[in-house]
């Protein structure tokens, strides 16, 4: 049999791969390492199913240090960023985080990302916007930003920082036991905290659908901090494999798979990230396409699919209505919490209504699939009561 580690061949590059701050820590804990986004990364420890389950029930610690952490500062920062992001940057208060995207000239998605306004004492020139982008895209993103942003804006890739995510129903209790006060954050809020003498930047967010936190910290203390978390009974390290199955169940798209330069925010079902003012007034790269697709619809739409039977449909499988190809699976696999195969696909919007059924072709067989509302597993974010 073939022993391919994973199906995401494009991200699993040939050497040379670089080591992240927790490289030795993962290996010492028995992780199986693979190449991902240019780094050695842990794909699993005990097994994907067990790690997935643990995160849904306890608290899973993920090393996402491959991601790009960027600090942006300078005169006129908000206006400059509003020209390259469809986000409401000027309305972003200190201590708040938002999901956004970089769009190309034709409105295709270059990357998806998080932005936060950290408040007055961050960055070389005071108030900064902190951005977290995908690991595989970070150098392209920076090149794009350098090209698009005025000279007054400083772009600092914080490559000495590690990034950890602690996710799951027991994450708040576990993290607050070593970082007091962190449990006061609500979903998509963020703030500065300390651990001993070390500065941390923590947001209440993540990519599993569970309550949880993302912790930016100096790479040199990452192993010590991870150890301090993992001595807590509810905390175990979790690999990339379970991260993928968790985010798929949570209906969260993954760049390079469900999102790419060919699809815009509306087709990708990410319109929530563009508010009324920005939709109407535009003024960002790619607005023409957003406006057009809001008015006329997009050629393809991202949907969730529930698949009959037990056989998973993977990325690249073709979707058919009768004999007509109507789309392509963009990610898919067996969903441990759902207990069945699920997928995301980009399909013809005429077939995108929830409840529509069609076929997916897998190795010459037709599997019956139904458009399902996402998330597949309810989000359990710790939202601020309204």
């Amino acid at each position: 049999m073939n022993m391919t580690e994973v199906d995401h061949a494009d991200e699993y590059q040939e050497l040379p791969l670089e080591a992240l701050p927790l490289d030795g820590w993962h290996r010492a804990r028995g992780a199986r390492m693979v190449g991902f986004a240019g780094y050695h990364m842990p794909i699993q420890y005990d097994g994907i199913m067990a790690e997935h389950q643990w995160t849904r029930e306890q608290a899973g610690l993920f090393d996402v240090s491959h991601m790009g952490q960027i600090s942006l500062t300078g005169e006129g920062l908000d206006a400059a960023l509003e020209a390259v992001l469809p986000a409401d940057v000027s309305g972003l208060k200190a201590g708040r985080q938002r999901y956004s995207m970089l769009l190309g000239d034709d409105g295709g998605i270059l990357d998806d990302l998080m932005i936060s306004r950290r408040g007055s004492d961050h960055g070389p020139d005071g108030d900064d916007i902190y951005m977290v982008v995908n690991g595989a895209m970070k150098y392209d993103d920076i090149a794009w930003l350098l090209d698009q942003l005025p000279d007054a804006i400083t772009i600092n890739l914080m490559d000495e920082q590690a990034l950890l995510a602690l996710q799951g129903p027991r994450a708040a209790q576990a993290l607050a036991s070593i970082v007091p006060g962190v449990d006061a954050l609500f979903f998509m809020q963020c703030g500065a905290f300390v651990w001993g003498e070390h500065d941390l930047w923590i947001s209440r967010s993540g990519y599993t659908g569970e309550d949880g936190f993302e912790i930016s910290l100096p790479g040199v203390i990452a192993a010590e901090f991870a150890d301090a978390l993992c001595v807590i009974e509810s905390v175990k390290p979790i690999g990339l494999g379970a991260r993928d199955s968790l985010r798929l169940e949570a209906g969260l798209p993954l760049y390079g798979h469900d999102l790419d330069i060919n699809i815009g925010p509306i087709g990708a079902d990410l319109g929530f990230a563009i508010n009324k003012r920005r939709r109407a007034d535009g003024g960002f790269i790619g607005h023409d396409r957003v406006a057009r697709e809001l008015a006329q619809g997009a050629a393809l739409r991202r949907v969730g699919l529930a698949i009959d039977g037990r056989l998973p449909a993977r990325e690249g499988a073709l979707v058919f209505a009768g004999t007509k190809q109507i789309g392509t699976v963009t990610s898919g696999g067996f969903a441990p919490t759902v207990g069945a195969p699920i997928a995301m696909a980009l399909i013809d919007p005429d077939h995108a209504a929830v409840g529509t059924t069609f076929d997916i072709e897998v190795r010459g067989k037709r599997l019956s699939a139904t458009v399902a509302a996402m998330p597949f597993v309810p989000h359990r974010y710790h939202r601020q009561p309204s």
Partner: protein
């Protein structure tokens, strides 16, 4: 009865002209949690090296090749309802299919257990 191993991480038990085929314990460990096994139909004939079955783990689909040529005479129906048998007992209860050998000399190219252990250790 003798047991052979292939470099593609299959085990083959040969009893007369019938070969029982499965994947090795090493292979199941590498694949991780197995969620589906697609088996060949009874009566299918394979040349050595043909795609004969597919193992779907949580993370990926992997092909299982026919380690020898022959006709499929039986498949392990238990795997349909309980694919995790391949994880828990890869080299006994988790067998995939039985073939009637067409060319017993193909077995000469396979490894015995100690040779397979050395092969795995070298990976």
């Amino acid at each position: 009865m003798s047991r052979y191993f292939s470099e593609e991480h299959e085990w083959i038990d040969v009893d007369g002209d019938i070969a029982t085929v499965g994947i090795t314990d090493f292979a199941q460990g590498q694949l991780g949690d197995i969620v589906f096994v697609e088996l060949p139909v009874e009566g299918a004939t394979f040349e050595k090296g043909d795609d004969a079955a597919v193992v779907e783990s949580v993370k990926a689909a992997s092909d299982v090749y026919a380690p020898v040529s022959g006709e499929v005479v039986e498949v392990n129906g238990e795997l349909e309802g309980e694919p995790a048998l391949v994880n828990s007992d890869a080299e006994e209860e988790g067998w995939f299919f039985k073939m009637r050998l067409t060319d017993a000399s193909e077995l000469d190219g396979l490894m015995n257990e100690s040779a397979y252990e050395k092969f795995v250790a070298s990976l």
